[in-house]
Structure formats: structure tokens, C-alpha cells
Chain length 295, copies 2
């Protein structure tokens, strides 16, 4: 884990600084919106998606500023999804990253708009010529993020998640749900790093295998945390899935088998990186961190 | 108006067909989301933004299929904004285009997600290689739509609109609010048509002047309709601004001066097109339609 701690600290600092620079207040009545966007975006979260992006980009010599910029866009989509997920009509959560959620700190209308604002902010950032001088790189980044977050990605997974409250899903359906809801955006981090690194699609097979495996391992770990975690450490409400009667990896597999499955996926993820040298050490460390974290 | 009626009919038909083709049901639990997106997107609205896009593109010989595809993305952003605007925490509207709003026909959570889904759908469509073989055209379309709909465009205007309920805005501030909230997306239609037509930025001055003027005229006409219109014809609730104590062009200028101002803006918009021949007739007709419509 020697490479991980500084990488986590650095990405947290860089993403905060990047949001701070890119989400500038306007000095007019729009500032309440921008302040709400900043409130949600700055100073919280593990920044795991940007870390995957910068770690992958770093393997191929991409300058850090570009990778952080793309990571900020990716994280903006993650943050918008949390704001909307936390709304009273969705998960109705009052706490996120240890502080009041946006609709509590501001109001519901502002939370809806702040989510929408961060959503489109991601595409403003990626399409800006400052992102990359190559329009093909910019459009590939946009396409990857859009596909990962739409009906065939995160939003589709969220819809399945709502359906899961009233239907009883089997393991393949829960797996599919989680691949869409969580896996797609984590995988987008790796893919966007590879795009910035100009890795051709046919050279991304192992990276995609890695991303798929850690995505599933991440969700199993999340389900385990939801069952066994400490709310104070997690900074959010836990035990929600069981209350709502949702099937999870833990409810379907049991705690022991779920834990084994997560470990197996992490080993498999690391094996996908066998053709890379020490330049992939951060990705290896992230894979292990995903199942060992306590929040 | 001889050119307008067939243009309005054709764009309505084309946009419906395009949404129908592009929003394909998945055959799994995501279908409730996709159905809600289709419910909101298909069969309603004047399709004014896609009409501006296709009419502008048509002036420069762009094939209609490409213009309709880009117009579908643009309209998707408009539709997502209506879904979120109609939410109980925002305008709390039960009727839109003469039918129940999405959160009434489905539920609030589905409405939030359907809005989010249509939002990102726009960027999926524009970044798809099927949109244009030229990555520079695709990224310019993305950038134009993103800028027009974010904090420096539509979302910023919506935030000012919320602030307008408790603050008393003067005419310049209401003008700025409306330029952001409504004008930016209408202008994006003209701009995206010019991008597809490969009009260089320095050749877009007159088109941008036209777009700015009709954007403002559109909103003044909307304020007049809100004051004087027929709810049955409009297919939505009216008289809301006055109830909420919001300043509008009509409250600030009075009915007569507002009507004169709208007509003046339309004439000015048409004058911006003086260097174009009959190829700009649809844009000229749209400008007049904007102040003469009854819904």
C-alpha cells in the first residue's frame, strides 16, 4: 500500500483544487447554484474514479494536469448522481461525506439544479479545447463518459435499483444492475485514462478486464460495508438495502461467500495487469484498497 | 407563413421518429426509465429548437438526417429541463403539452432519472460517430450544447428564476435571466445548424444576432401568453408568474410596451438575415411565428 496513500492524498488535493478553479462564482443571482455545486463537489469522497483515471493515464505518460482535468469531469458526474440519489424522492438521505446533503443544506429545487449543473459541467470541461488540443481525444472522452452515465450505464442501473425495491432479483440481474450503476463509471475512469494515453482500443483489453473486475469487487465491498460497516466512519446512512428488502450480493451469497468473491475478483483484476510493470502499481494498489477500505 | 406550416409539421414528425428510433426499449428493468423518457420526449411541443437548427442547417446544404439527429439531441435537453422544472420541488406542474407531467404519470424518482437520462442522451447522440464523420464537428456540437445548458446558460437562468421569486429584479436583470434560461438554448439551435453547415465562427455574426433577438422576443411572447393566454390552448398552467410575484417583461413594461418590444425584436431579427436570400425564409417565418403563436 506504499504507493496508495500518497496517490489518494494527491488526487484528493488535485480534484478539490480543480473544482475550485473551474467552478468560479459569477457574482450574480446564479451564485446560489454555483455555491451548491461547489458545496457538493469540493472536500468529500475518496476520488476513486479520478484516481483510476490519473493512474491509468500516468502509465502512458499523460501530463498530470490533463488527467486531473478529465478526472474532474468524471467526478462531477459521480457527484451529480449522489446529489440526485440523496433527494427525498430517491434515497432521502440527510448525510453525505459526513455533512448535510445538498437538499438539506440548501433546498430541493437547488439540489435538482446543482445536480443538473454538475452533470453538464462535465461535458463543458471535456469539450473545452483546454482539455486536449486534439478534437478526437475530446470527443472520445465525451462519448465514453456519456455512454457510461446514461440509460446503458449509471442511469439505467439506478432505474434497476428502484425496481429492485419491489422485485426480487437473482444474482445475474443484481450483477448486471451493479455493473451499470457503479461499474460503468469506474470503468470509464480507466478508459478515459487510456484515451488520454492514446492507447488504441485493441490495446485496452486487459485494462477493461481490470476495470470490470474491480467494479464488481467495489460493489460487493459496498454491500459488505452496508451490512457490517460503521455509519460514523462511512459518513452516510447504512443498512438501507436490508430495510428496503433489496437483494444485494450479501443477501444472495451470504457474508462469507461475498467476501471470498470480492477477493477473487481483486486477484483476477491484478492478473489482468500482468503484462505491465511497476507503472501499474497504483492500479494494483487501488484494486486491493477497494475491498479493504472501511468507508 | 406559407413556408412555416409544412416546416412545423415536418419537424414534429421527424423529431418524433428520431426519438422513437434512438430511445429503444431494453427489454429489462430499465424499461420503466426508457418508457418515461419516451413519454416525455415523443408527441409534444412545437419543436422550435430543432426547427431553428434544421432551418439554419438547410441554408448551408446540410443533409436533413444529420440536422434532425442534432436537433433531437437539442430537444432532449429542452425536454429534460421541462421534466425537472415540473417537479413538485420546482414549479409543481401537473400538466405539460396537455397530458400529465412525468412525475404524475410515473413518480418523482422516475421523473428525476428520466430527466437525467435525456440530459446525457443528448451527449450520447452528439458524440456518436453516426452524428458526423468529422470529430471536430461532433465536439463543436457538444461544446455548444453544453455551454448553452449549463451554469452559464439554461441552468444558470433557472437558478436566477428561483431567485426571482424572492428578489425584485429590474429590466436588465430579467433580460439577462431570460437570455440564459430560454435564449441560450434557442440560440444553440441556430449555432448548431451553422456548425453542421461548416460556417466559420466569423461568418455567424448575423445568425447570432438573429438568434439573440428571437430569444428575447420568444420570452416576451411567453410572458404575454402567461398573462393573456388560454390554458386549454397552451396545454399547461398559466398565470403562475403573477401568483409568485415574479417580475416579467409584462410586469415591468406593461402589456402594450411588451408587445411593441417583441414586434421590434422580430423586425430586428429579420433584418439580421438581410444578406441571405429565400434560403432564410423559414428562419424569417419562425421569427414572426414566435410572437404570433397562441401556445
Amino acid at each position: 500500500m506504499a504507493v496508495l496513500k500518497p496517490a489518494l492524498e494527491q488526487i484528493a488535493e488535485d480534484i478539490d483544487a480543480s473544482f475550485d478553479a473551474l467552478l468560479a462564482v459569477a457574482g450574480d443571482p446564479r451564485d446560489r447554484l454555483i455555491e451548491a455545486m461547489r458545496y457538493a463537489a469540493i472536500g468529500g469522497g475518496k476520488r476513486l474514479r479520478p484516481l483510476l483515471l490519473t493512474a491509468t493515464a500516468g502509465m502512458f505518460g499523460v501530463d498530470r494536469a490533463s488527467a486531473v482535468r478529465a478526472g474532474t469531469a468524471l467526478e462531477a458526474v459521480h457527484v451529480y448522481s449522489l446529489i440526485h440519489d440523496d433527494l427525498p424522492c430517491m434515497d432521502n438521505d440527510a448525510t453525505r461525506h459526513g455533512k448535510p446533503t445538498v437538499h438539506i443544506a440548501y433546498d430541493e429545487a437547488t439540489a435538482v439544479l446543482a445536480g443538473d449543473g454538475l452533470h453538464v459541467f462535465a461535458f463543458e470541461v471535456l469539450s473545452d479545447p483546454a482539455m486536449s488540443g486534439d478534437p478526437f481525444v475530446r470527443i472520445e472522452l465525451v462519448r465514453t463518459l456519456a455512454m457510461a452515465s446514461g440509460a446503458n450505464g449509471m442511469a439505467g442501473g439506478q432505474m434497476m435499483d428502484i425496481a429492485a425495491e419491489t422485485a426480487s432479483f437473482d444474482l445475474p440481474t443484481v450483477t448486471r444492475l451493479q455493473q451499470l450503476k457503479t461499474g460503468a463509471l469506474l470503468a470509464a475512469g480507466v478508459e478515459m485514462g487510456a484515451i488520454l494515453g492514446r492507447v488504441p482500443p485493441e490495446g485496452r483489453t486487459h485494462l477493461r478486464g481490470y476495470a470490470r473486475d474491480i467494479g464488481l469487487a467495489f460493489q460487493i465491498a459496498d454491500d459488505l460495508l452496508d451490512t457490517e460497516g460503521d455509519e460514523a466512519v462511512a459518513g452516510k446512512a447504512l443498512r438501507k438495502d436490508a430495510e428496503r428488502g433489496k437483494e444485494t450480493f450479501v443477501s444472495l451469497l451470504g457474508v462469507e461467500r461475498a467476501r471470498e468473491q470480492a477477493k477473487m475478483l481483486v486477484e483476477q483484476a491484478v492478473q489482468h495487469l500482468a503484462s505491465y510493470g511497476p507503472e501499474a502499481d497504483v492500479l494494483r494498489a487501488v484494486a486491493r484498497f477497494i475491498v479493504e477500505r472501511d468507508h
